[in-house]
């Protein structure tokens, strides 16, 4: 199969390169903050006794940085790269691309300043104060206009499956962000949500769950559908499966939010709805996993040598795991044990480090040599990154599963007289401490891999120009 020429002058690859650099920069920052949090939970003096560095303020900094800065920029890079090539046209508007890139970075910087200062709306994953929320809406709409403008001027008729997944993100995130942040400003930094009490909680978790669904799941599947077959040079296993599982996901995800509010004041029937829609999500989620893994039929020999495909295989596997675990945690009796414990944290990072992170790394290692028109600086270094990250994830999630189940069982343990076996909360904290140290080690391994990626990309981008066609990463190994 012949390589399609990459840096065709038609395409706007400068914007893509900008987003790649931003992804790597914010990825290191966000994961460093994650590692600091992990240290603080294991060893409290790391809070430093200062309000700005305390766990409560750094935690939202971590979640916002890894979700909106690391994952967000990676999605924009991957989408802009693949969209142009799939539709055989340059991005619709250079102006909008510039507004989108710089606007998004300005939002991230303002988040990085306001969150440690303690300015927050107090809604998880939507902490940012209302002026920043407005800026997000404006920049997101610039992205949406650029996206649909590009679709409108496309030079091919067919819309490849990756593009449907991207579209579901563009549309859904707009609605979610606007509705969940509806608020009445009281001052520049303070506002009151228009919803109150239980309604507010339900709207928040409708948002929270679908932010996971339409930022960390469907667009990442879109990236998989473009970058995996390109890297493996294999056709997608089943077009039909992609249609059925796409509509399954989009239709079912929206209803599953109440699984975050089990055993709360939410009416019983609404909790049931959240639970059963989560169960029904198993098959559509696994449809994506199947289509990914089966596309590799006949390409497993490449997986052995190509770190890009290794990252994809492990990413897809963790996607399958977390989308089985999630529905199990939505079952009332399981959630009664897992809720409020580190089991949730294990589940989160299975998806975040395993699925989202690994897929992004694979995509970057494939895209960077083509974007800068130079072979990857070091393939062995990329392979080392892969192993560090994989072992790091395993340490992280096994430690958190063990911690979560231990914690849940200790909370509910009673003696023969029906009295709590561990009435003092501190008993559970002490029991979890060793696992927090193990999680820190796993997290540091993952962070080290991320830094190696940054170095590898830096060396690639600054290497002398290679006039030959860009080489796929696997070829230098062979």
């Amino acid at each position: 199969m012949t390589e399609t020429p990459t840096a065709t002058p038609d395409y706007d690859d400068q914007t893509v390169r900008n987003f790649v650099v931003a992804t790597i920069t914010w990825g290191m920052v966000g994961m460093l903050v994650g590692a600091i949090l992990a240290l603080q939970l294991a060893w409290w003096p790391a809070n430093l006794g200062l309000p700005w560095t305390s766990f409560g303020r750094l935690r939202p900094l971590h979640t916002n940085a890894v979700i909106f800065a690391f994952t967000g920029n990676a999605l924009f890079a991957g989408i802009y790269y693949s969209l142009q090539r799939l539709l055989k046209t340059r991005l619709w508007s250079d102006k909008l691309s510039t507004v989108h890139f710089w606007g998004w970075q300005a939002i991230i910087v303002s988040a990085a300043v306001t969150l440690p200062l303690g300015y927050t709306e107090g809604k998880e994953y939507a902490e940012l104060i209302w002026p920043i929320d407005l800026a997000i809406a404006v920049v997101w709409l610039a992205f949406a206009a650029n996206f649909f403008g590009t679709v409108a001027i496309r030079k091919v008729k067919h819309l490849y499956v990756a593009i449907w997944f991207y579209m579901s993100m563009v549309i859904t995130i707009t609605v979610l962000h606007v509705v969940n942040n509806l608020a009445m400003p009281a001052s520049l930094t303070r506002s009151y949500p228009v919803f109150a009490g239980l309604t507010d909680a339900l709207v928040q978790w409708w948002y929270g769950h679908n932010a996971v669904g339409f930022l960390l799941t469907t667009p990442i599947l879109g990236l998989m559908y473009y970058f995996l077959p390109r890297a493996a040079e294999r056709p997608v296993y089943s077009y039909r499966l992609s249609i059925v599982h796409f509509w399954g996901l989009v239709f079912l995800y929206i209803w599953a939010g109440p699984h975050h509010l089990l055993y709360s004041a939410l009416p019983d029937w609404a909790q049931t709805l959240g639970m059963v829609f989560s169960i029904m999500l198993i098959a559509p989620s696994w449809g994506g996993m199947l289509n990914g893994l089966l596309t590799l039929r006949g390409a497993w020999d490449k997986v052995r040598v190509d770190p890009v495909l290794k990252f994809f295989v492990v990413g897809i596997t963790f996607y399958g795991m977390s989308t089985f675990e999630g529905p199990m945690m939505s079952i009332r009796s399981v959630n009664a044990l897992s809720h409020y414990t580190d089991w949730t944290i294990a589940h989160v990072h299975e998806g975040a480090l395993g699925w989202v992170g690994m897929t992004i790394f694979g995509m970057l290692y494939w895209m960077v040599p083509r974007l800068w028109n130079r072979p990857l600086h070091s393939v062995p270094m990329a392979t080392t990154h892969f192993w560090l990250a994989t072992v790091g994830i395993v340490l992280y999630i096994v430690a958190m599963w063990t911690a979560g189940v231990t914690q849940g069982l200790m909370w509910r343990a009673t003696d023969a007289e029906g009295l709590l076996r561990y009435p003092n909360f501190i008993d559970t904290v002490v029991a979890l401490n060793p696992f927090y140290w193990i999680r820190l080690i796993g997290g540091l391994m993952y962070l080290t891999g991320m830094i190696m990626l940054a170095w590898n990309v830096f060396k690639t981008a600054t290497a002398p120009l290679n006039n030959q066609a860009p080489a796929g990463t696997a070829k230098e190994v062979a």
Partner: protein, 161 residues
């Protein structure tokens, strides 16, 4: 495998070189999907219509089924006071002080009682707590035996009536 397997759709020129097979949905996957839908509908019907229940009813049933601690008649014996001292030192000193002279909580050695100084009053206060003022509810934590002991100890130390 049938001849239908792995027929290319021929979209590659319209998708940056990526082609797609027209493969059928894997049968086990379809089975899984339908199975989950049947479970979902069945669970909802069962819980809300066939054998209606709710989290509140489940809670009541669990509480009714839970083992009950035998009730203990508090009385002032040397054993009870000694055992009560130990309970006090582990759970109460943070607020009432090791000498019971008070801190966050009031002095327990004087004649003044907010909630009554009879042994039975003290048992009641400790068991139920005074949530609004910051005295924890000890009933489910210590159980009747330890509460009887610590009440005996407090009664002995202070101006118990």
């Amino acid at each position: 495998m049938s001849g239908e397997q792995d027929r290319l759709l021929g979209h590659a020129d319209e998708a940056d070189g990526i082609d797609e097979y027209d493969n059928k949905l894997p049968a086990w996957w379809v089975g899984l999907f339908i199975g989950c839908i049947i479970f979902a509908v069945g669970y909802g019907l069962d819980r809300h219509f066939l054998r209606p229940t709710s989290e509140a009813l489940e809670y009541d049933a669990e509480v009714a089924a839970a083992p009950k601690a035998a009730s203990v008649e508090a009385s002032i014996t040397p054993e009870a006071v000694a055992a009560g001292k130990e309970v006090f030192m582990t759970n109460c000193v943070a607020c009432h002080g090791a000498d019971l002279h008070g801190g966050i909580g009031p002095n327990l050695t004087d004649e003044t009682w907010i909630h009554g100084g009879k042994l039975t009053d003290i048992v009641t206060t400790i068991t139920n707590g005074v949530a609004a003022k910051g005295m924890p509810t000890w009933g489910p934590v210590l159980g009747p035996k330890k509460i009887a002991d610590v009440a005996a100890f407090v009664h002995e130390q202070g101006g118990g009536q």
